[in-house]
Amino acid sequence: MEAGISLIIVIGLIIIAYIGTLLGLQVLFGIVIPYVAFLILVLGLIYRVISWAKVPQPFKIPTTCGQQKSLPWVKHSRLEAPFTTWEVVLRMFFEIFLFRSLFRNLRADLEGRRLIYGSAKWLWLGAILFHFSFFIIMLRHIRLFTNPVPGFIVRLDYIDSFFHLGIPPIYITDLLILAGLIFLLLRRLIDPKVNYISYGSDYFPLFLILGIVISGVLMRYAIKVDVYAVKQLTLGLATFTPTIPKAPIGSIFYIHLFLVSVLAAYFPFSKLVHMIGIFFSPTRNMANNNRAVRHVNPWNYPVKHYTYYEYQERFRDKMENAGIPIDEEVEPEKEHEWYSLYVPGKEPPTIKS
C-alpha cells in the first residue's frame, strides 16, 4: 500500500507539472521552482552537515573487520582495521565508491536445524548500477549548463553512447540505471523481509527517480523536444540570467525538471542524505589505533567511584586473616568532584540538558 501511495504521489507531481505548462506557468516551473529547489538543496545540505559536525563523537568506535596492528610479525589488515589516517582514507574510499561492506553481504537459510550461508551480491550489484549510472548521468548533464562544453564531458558522452545503437544513440547508463532502479524496487516489493521494513518514504524516492529517468529517456528517444531551446533555458539558469526561450519546449521537459526539483528539495530532509552521512560514520571513519593514540571526548566528566581505601577498611580483618598484604600507606581520598546523568542536580555542566 505504501508503494501504491508513493506511486500516486509521483503521478500527482507529474500531473501538476503537466497542467502547469498547459496553463502557461513556464516561468514558475522552468525558473522559480528549480531555483527554490536548488536553494533548499544547498542550504539543507549545509544545515545537515553542520548538524552532524557540531555533535561531538565521544568515543573512537571503529568496527574492525580485519586484523589489528599489533606485533610486528602479525600481518595487519590495513583496509579493515586501519591504524593511520591514510589507511582510514583508503577504507572510506572503498566504502564510498565500491560499497565494500555491501559486497560482504550473505544470505542465511534455515534447513531443518542447519543454517546455510550463501553469497548474496545482487544488492551490491543493483546499488552499484544505480549509483554509478546516476552519477555519470549527472555529469553528462553538465553539457546543458556550460558553453562551450568541457572536453571530458564530450568524451564521457561519447563513451556512454559507445554502442552507437539507434538515433540518437542509446546511453548505456540509461539502461543500467533503469535496470538498477527496477531491481531495487522489485526487491523491496518481493523480498518479504525488505518489504516488511519498507515505509512509503522508502518507495517514494525510488518512484521519483524512476519518473525522472523515464521522462528523460522519453525526451531523448520518443517525445522529442527542442534541444536548442532547452539549452537556452538551462544555460540561463546556470548563468543566473534565466529566460524562457521563445521556441516552445514540450511539457515532458517541464515534468522532468519539476521532478528533479522535487528530488533536490526532498534530498536533505530524507534518508537520501546517507550520501553525505557516510562520510561521518564513526565506525568507518575512525582509526583502530585506540591504545596508541588517545581520543578526547569534549564532554568527558569525572564520575563517582569507590576507592581502595574504603574497600580495604571494609575487608581489613578478612584480608589480614587470609594473609593478604594490607596497604598501610593508602589514605582516604578527599571528596572529589563528580557528576552523574542519573542524580538530579549533579548533571555534568559540559552536557546541556
Binding site: G66, P192, H274, V303
Partner: protein, 540 residues
C-alpha cells in the same frame, strides 16, 4: 529448564516469512524465557541510580512516573546532542535490509523485530514521530509513531534481546552499529529506573566488592589456592601464590575476570595463566579490589561503565606497577581498547608496556598501557621463550570461537590462533562465514547470561552452536577455545544443549597443558584431569 528438545526449538522459525500485520501494530508480548527480571530498588539506590520501586516486566501496568514521557524525550535529545554516532545512525538508514539476517537473535527466533534494522526503527520511529515535522505530518508513511507505554515495554524487551555484538555493523553499508543504539537505549531506560536484576547486581558487586560475582578478597585467595593445590597434585609443581596478591612494586598488574576464579571451566584458564606466570617467574601482581576486568556497567550505561573501571588505573597507580596485562575477556577488551584512555587518559603514570622476557615493546598500546595476555603470550612463543609440547593436547580437536568484542571492536584474530597452532596439533576452523569479523555471538553477551532467559539464549546462540556442530560432525572437534570469560560460561550451556560432546576452554588452559615445566612429575591427565593421549614422562 523447561526448554523444548533442540530439534523442536526452532520449529516456529521462518526466515523468509513476515507477519501479516505492520510491525507498529504488533504489541510486544513479553514471553517467559526471553526477558530478565527487574532489579531490587535497594541495589539501584546504593549505586545512586533511579528506580521505579518493586515491580516486574510482566505486570500489566508498569509504574512509570507521571512525567515519564518528558523525561524520555529529554534523554533522547540529550543523546542526539552528545553522540554523533547515535544522531547519525538515527538519520541515515535507508532500510536496504543488508543487516536483516545477520543477527543471531533473528536467525534463532525469526522475529522481525530482531532484524537490526527494525531494532533501530523501534527508536528511530519515535524520534521521527516526536521531533520531526515530516514525521508528525506523514506519520507511518514516513516511518513515524508516537511514544507510548507500549513502546517502552517493546524497548525493554528488544534492547535486551541484543547482545551488542556488532555483527550487523560489519555488513551495513554505512556502518550503522546497533550495539551503539542498544547501549544508548539501555541508558535511556535506566534513566527511568528500568534495569535488570542480572545486569545490575554484578555492577553492585563489582563496585563494592571488586568483582561481578562478589568474591571477597579472602575467597579470591582461597579459590586460587584450590587451583594451585590441584595443579600441584597433577604436575607436582608448587606455585607461590603469595607473591601475586596485592603486592606493591611489581612490574605488571594482571587483571583477571571473576568468571575465571569462580566457576568451571573458566578456572582452568586462570590456572593456565598462573602456571605461565610461574614458568616465566614474572614480576606480576593481582589486586583483589581490581579483580574484575569485565564491566557489567557497560551493559547499563557508559557512565556506570566508567565508574566501575576507574579502579583499574587507580590500582595500577597504588601498586606502583609499570603497565597492565589483561586476561582473556570479550567486552572487557571493548571497554579497555576503545574507551579507557578517553575516560581516564592521559595515562602518564605508567610506562609503555615492554615484555620483560623478550624485550618487545608493545608500541600499539603505548598510550593506554594495557596489553592483552594473548599478545603477550604470542610474543613469547614467537621468540621461542616457551618450551611447548603440543602433543599434550592431542586428546583434543580444537576449534576457536572469535568473541564479538575482540573481533569487531579490536581486530584481534591472529594472536590467539598463533598460540593455538603452537600448543595443539589438531586445530580446525569453523565455516568461513561464522568466524573472524563474521563471528557469531554466544547468544548471551551484554548481561543476558542468566538462567531465566534460557530460551532466548539457546535461540540466539544457535548460529554459533550450529557451526560448532558442523565441525564436530565433520572433523570430530571436541573442544572449543575462546578468549572471553562470558563465553566460557555461556558456551558451556550452549554446547550442553546443542552439541554436548564439545567442551569449552580458554586459550591459556591449552597453553598450560602444553607447557613443558621444569621438575614436573609424570602424569596422564590434563589440567582438568581428562586423560591424555600420550602420558607425560616426568622427572619422578
Amino acid at each position: 529448564m523447561s526448554l523444548p528438545k533442540p530439534d523442536a526449538l526452532l520449529k516456529d522459525v521462518e526466515l523468509h516469512k513476515t507477519p501479516e500485520r505492520h510491525w507498529m501494530d504488533i504489541e510486544p508480548e513479553l514471553k517467559r524465557g526471553y526477558f530478565l527480571s527487574i532489579i531490587d530498588p535497594k541495589v539501584l539506590k546504593d549505586l545512586d541510580l533511579p528506580s521505579l520501586g518493586t515491580w516486574q516486566p510482566y505486570d500489566e501496568k508498569w509504574p512509570l512516573p507521571e512525567d515519564w514521557k518528558e523525561r524520555i524525550k529529554k534523554e533522547i535529545l540529550r543523546r542526539m546532542e552528545t553522540y554523533r554516532s547515535f544522531k547519525l545512525f538515527m538519520e541515515i538508514c535507508v532500510r536496504c535490509g543488508a543487516c536483516a539476517d545477520k543477527c543471531h537473535f533473528f536467525l534463532g527466533t525469526g522475529d522481525p523485530k530482531n532484524m537490526p534494522v527494525l531494532r533501530a526503527e523501534l527508536i528511530r520511529s519515535v524520534i521521527k514521530g516526536e521531533f520531526s515535522i515530516f514525521g508528525k505530518l506523514f506519520g507511518r508513511f514516513a516511518g513515524a509513531r508516537k511514544l507510548t507505554e507500549e513502546v517502552i515495554k517493546e524497548w525493554f524487551y528488544y534492547f535486551y534481546q541484543c547482545t551488542e555484538c556488532r555483527r550487523c555493523s560489519v555488513f551495513c553499508p554505512y556502518g550503522i552499529d546497533t550495539a551503539e543504539v542498544t547501549m544508548i537505549m539501555r541508558e535511556i531506560l535506566l534513566s527511568l529506573g528500568i534495569a535488570t536484576d542480572w545486569g545490575i547486581k554484578p555492577v553492585h558487586n563489582c563496585y563494592y566488592i571488586g568483582n561481578h560475582v562478589g568474591v571477597p578478597p579472602q575467597s579470591l585467595k582461597e579459590n586460587l589456592e584450590f587451583l594451585i593445590w590441584d595443579f600441584e597434585e597433577i604436575a607436582g609443581i608448587q606455585i607461590d601464590l603469595e607473591k601475586y596478591l596485592n603486592r606493591k612494586g611489581a612490574e605488571i598488574l594482571y587483571v583477571p575476570m571473576s568468571g575465571d576464579y569462580f566457576a568451571d571451566p573458566g578456572i582452568y584458564t586462570m590456572l593456565g595463566i598462573l602456571v605461565l606466570f610461574h614458568y616465566l617467574d614474572l614480576d606480576v601482581t593481582i589486586s583483589p579490589f581490581a579483580s574484575e576486568g569485565g564491566n557489567f556497567g557497560f551493559f547499563n550505561s557508559f557512565e556506570m561503565a566508567k565508574r566501575l573501571h576507574a579502579k583499574i588505573y587507580e590500582e595500577a597507580k597504588r601498586l606502583k606497577v609499570k603497565w597492565i596485562l589483561g586476561g582473556e575477556c570479550g567486552h572487557k577488551w571493548r571497554v579497555w581498547h576503545q574507551f579507557h584512555n578517553t575516560w581516564f587518559g592521559p595515562i602518564d603514570f605508567l610506562e609503555v608496556p615492554k615484555s620483560p622476557i623478550t624485550g618487545t615493546v608493545f608500541e600499539h598500546a603505548k598510550d593506554n598501557k594495557i596489553v592483552h595476555i594473548c599478545e603477550f603470550t604470542a610474543d613469547l612463543i614467537a621468540h621461542g621463550k616457551l618450551k611447548l609440547d603440543p602433543s599434550r593436547n592431542d586428546h583434543l580437536i580444537v576449534t576457536f570461537h572469535d568473541s564479538c568484542n575482540t573481533s569487531r571492536a579490536m581486530g584481534f584474530f591472529e594472536e590467539p590462533r598463533f598460540i593455538l597452532k603452537h600448543v595443539c596439533n589438531n586445530f580446525v576452523e569453523m565455516p568461513e562465514n561464522t568466524i573472524r569479523e563474521k563471528t557469531f555471538c554466544c547468544g548471551s553477551g551484554s548481561g543476558l547470561n542468566a538462567g531465566e532467559n534460557m530460551e532466548i539464549r539457546m535461540r540466539g546462540g544457535f548460529p554459533r552452536a550450529n557451526a560448532v556442530e558442523y565441525v564436530h560432525k565433520e572433523y570430530g572437534v571436541n573442544q572449543i577455545a575462546c578468549i572471553c570469560a562470558i563465553d566460557r560460561a555461556t558456551l558451556s550451556s550452549l554446547m550442553e544443549y546443542w552439541v554436548p560432546e564439545v567442551a569449552v576452554s580458554g586459550v591459556h588452559e591449552l597453553v598450560a597443558n602444553a607447557l613443558v615445566l621444569e621438575g614436573e612429575k609424570s602424569r596422564d591427565v590434563d589440567l582438568r584431569r581428562r586423560p591424555l593421549k600420550h602420558p607425560v614422562k616426568g622427572v619422578d
